[in-house]
Symmetry: C2
Subunit: 425 residues, 2 copies
Amino acid sequence: MSTSLPALITEIGRRARAAARPLAALSAETKNAALIAMADELLAREAAILDANAQDVAGATAHGLTPAAIDRLTLDSARLRKIADAVRAVADLPDPVNEVLDEWTRPNGIRITKVRKPIGVIGIIYESRPNVTADAAVLCLKTGNAVILRGGSESLRSNLAIASALQAGGARAGLPADAVQLIPVTDREAVRLLAQADAFLDVIVPRGGKSLIEAVVANARMPVIKHYDGICHVYVDAAADVAMATRILVNGKCQRPGVCNAVETVVIHQAIAEKFLAAAAPSLAAEGVELRADEPAFRQLSALGYQPLVRATDEDFRTEFLALILGVKIVPDLAAAIDHIEAHGSHHSDAIVTADEAAAERFLNEVDSATVYWNASTRFTDGGEFGFGAEIGISTDKLHARGPMALPELTTYRYQIRGDGQIRA
Amino acid sequence: MSTSLPALITEIGRRARAAARPLAALSAETKNAALIAMADELLAREAAILDANAQDVAGATAHGLTPAAIDRLTLDSARLRKIADAVRAVADLPDPVNEVLDEWTRPNGIRITKVRKPIGVIGIIYESRPNVTADAAVLCLKTGNAVILRGGSESLRSNLAIASALQAGGARAGLPADAVQLIPVTDREAVRLLAQADAFLDVIVPRGGKSLIEAVVANARMPVIKHYDGICHVYVDAAADVAMATRILVNGKCQRPGVCNAVETVVIHQAIAEKFLAAAAPSLAAEGVELRADEPAFRQLSALGYQPLVRATDEDFRTEFLALILGVKIVPDLAAAIDHIEAHGSHHSDAIVTADEAAAERFLNEVDSATVYWNASTRFTDGGEFGFGAEIGISTDKLHARGPMALPELTTYRYQIRGDGQIRA
C-alpha cells in the first residue's frame, strides 16, 4: 500500500459515497439477485476462503489466542455454507425501502408522504468472527446502503477473501463496484480516521468490546449506534411462581452465559427470598453457578450449604460477568428492586416474575431498559427471537435504534411533498 | 459561584438524571397542569423578566450587537404574552408518551409491545433569542424529559428570569424541582463539558451557528441532533409552468431570506431557461435580488438588462447566502439538475417545478434531502406548516430525526414483553 492511511480512508469513503446513490435507486429484485449471486460466489470460492482462514488461524495460534477465540475465528465447509445460507435468507426478507410510513394532506392542499429510504453510507467496525463480514454487508445492501467494513486484525485474510467473493457476486449482478468495501489494513488509527470521516459516513456501528466502542465514541463526528454492557436482571417478586422464576433465572443465567442478554443479578423480594432460594439453589448448583450474595442472601444460602458462594461487593452488582457468576440481592419491595436495577443495570434487558399484574405493569413502565419482560426470559432480546428475520446488533442507545436492530434500523426517511403551486403566506 | 465549572456541570447533570425518572412517570394531566402554571408564572413575573431583558439589551447595545440581533433579543409585554401563549398551546397538544407503536405475538406466545417513552435527559444549547428558553423547556416537559438549557451569553439574564418562572410554575404543579435547569454561566467551556457528559445526557441538541454546532459535534459523546446548512434549490424543469415556477422561486427566495428553508440556487432546464428567466426577472428585480449566474445564464440575464448581476463561482453554489442573493445554474437535463443538487446542496429542502409526473417522481426519489417538493415552496419545511403543532428545530441528520422535529422526535421507545413463563430453547 503506497498511499497514506488518511488518503486511503478518504478514497474508500469517496467511493462509498459515489456508490450510495445508484444503490439507493436499485429495485428489490436487483438487490435480491445480487444477494443470491453473492451466496453462490461464497460457495464457489470455498477453497480460497478456507485457505485464507487457515492462514488467519495459524497466525492467531502463533499469537496465543484462546481456544474459544480461535474457534470463533475458524471456518470450515459447514460454517461457510451457513454463511451463504444466511445471505440467501436475507434475500427472502421483504425490502423495507420505499415503505410509506405516514401520509397526510394539509389544509392548503400539499400532500406530505413520509417514505422509508436508505441511510447512505454505513461504517461497521467489528472484531473476530469473519461471518460478520458477510452478515453486515448483506444487511446494508438489502437496505440500499453502501458499506465500509473494518474487521479484526486476526481475521483480515478471511475477511478479505469473503469481501472479495461478495464484490465478485455483486459485480455479476450489476451492483456498483464499491457497494461493499473492506478496509485492507489493521492499524488502529484507521478506526479513528473512519470515525472522523463524517463527509463520507452517515453512521458508524462499532460491534465489539468496550475499548473499541470507547474509541469510536470519543472520536466520532457522525451518529454512532452502539452496544455497551448487558447487565440484565431477573426480579423475583413476592407474588412470583417460584418454579417459573427458577426456570426463567436458570435460562437467563446458564443457557449462554457469555452473551449480552444473559442475567447477571437476581433481585428477590424479601417475603419470598427463603422459599425461592431453596427452590432455585439445586438448579443453579447443578449448573455450577457461583453466587455473589448480599448479606441477607449470603446467610440464607450458607444455611442451604450453597457452593460456590461469596459475599457480593457493590462492584459485583455493576459487573457484566459473562460467566457462570450471579449476583444475588434481597430487597424489601418492588420500589427498591426498581431502584437497584436503575442504579446498577445497563438498561438492556430486565425481567420481573410475578402473578401480580399491578406490580408487573409498574415494572414494565418504570424500568427504563430497551426491553423489559414480565414472566419471560431476558434471552429473548434478539432480532431472530423478536421475529425480525435478521439482526445487525442490539442497541443500548435510546435514539434511532433501541434494542434488537434489523433492516428498518438501517434506513432513514424522507418527506416527499406534492403540491400544485402552493407557496407560503 | 464557588464551585468549579466541571463540578457545576456534573451536579446539574446528576440532578437532571434524578428528575428524569419521576418526570417519565407523570400523567398527561399533571404535565399539562404544570405547563399552564408555567404560562401563568411567566405573565405574573412580567416586570422581573422585562427588567432582566432590559439589562441584557443594554449590555448587547454596549457590545455593539447589530440592530437585528438586538431586536431578536428584545422582549416586551406583547412578546412575553406570545411566549406564554405558546406554552399554553403545547399543553393542548396530545401527549405522545405511552403511545403503542407496534404490537405482535410470537409463536411461543410472548407478546411484544413497542411503546413510546421519554428519552430521559435532553441538553439544548442555543443562541440569542430568549423565547427558546421557554419553547425548548416546555416541549421537553411535555414529552416527560428533563432538560438542561444553555443559552447565549447576551441573553443570560433574560434566560435566567424565564427559567426561574418556569421552575416556580412547575413547582406549584408538583413537578420535580430539577425538571428544567439552566446553566447559569456563559463560559464556552461549559458547552464542551456538557457535550462530554454522556453519563447524564441522553442527547444534545445544538441550535445556532456553525461554530457552535462544530464545537458540539467535535466533543459530543452522546447522540447529537443538529442542523447544518440549508442550501435549498428550486429546479425549473423543461415542463414547468413558468408562472408557477416564478411564484415558487420568489416565495422561496424572498419571503424570508434569512431562514434555512429559503432558496439559495435556482437550477433551470436549458430548454425553458430563456422563457423562464424573462418571466421571473421582473419579480426578482422588484425584490432587489442579486443574481449570481453561470455563464449561459449570465448571458441571457445580461441581454435582459438584469441588475444586480454577477458571474457565479463554484463557491457561490455551495453557499447559504441567507440574503437576497440567488445562484442561477442552467443544466442540460433532469439528471444534471439532480447531480448539481446532490453535489452542492445540503440535503435540506429541494423542489422541482414541472407538469411532467415522471420527472417529478424521479426527482422526489433521487434527491436525497430531508424534504423534497413537487410544485410547492421549500418554505413549507417547518413543524407548524407540516401540522406538527410544535417545532424543536429541523434536523439535517438522517438518524432518529430528519427534517422538522416535534414531540415524537423527543421520545424513544421501549419493548415491553409479556409472557407466561417462556424461556429460550
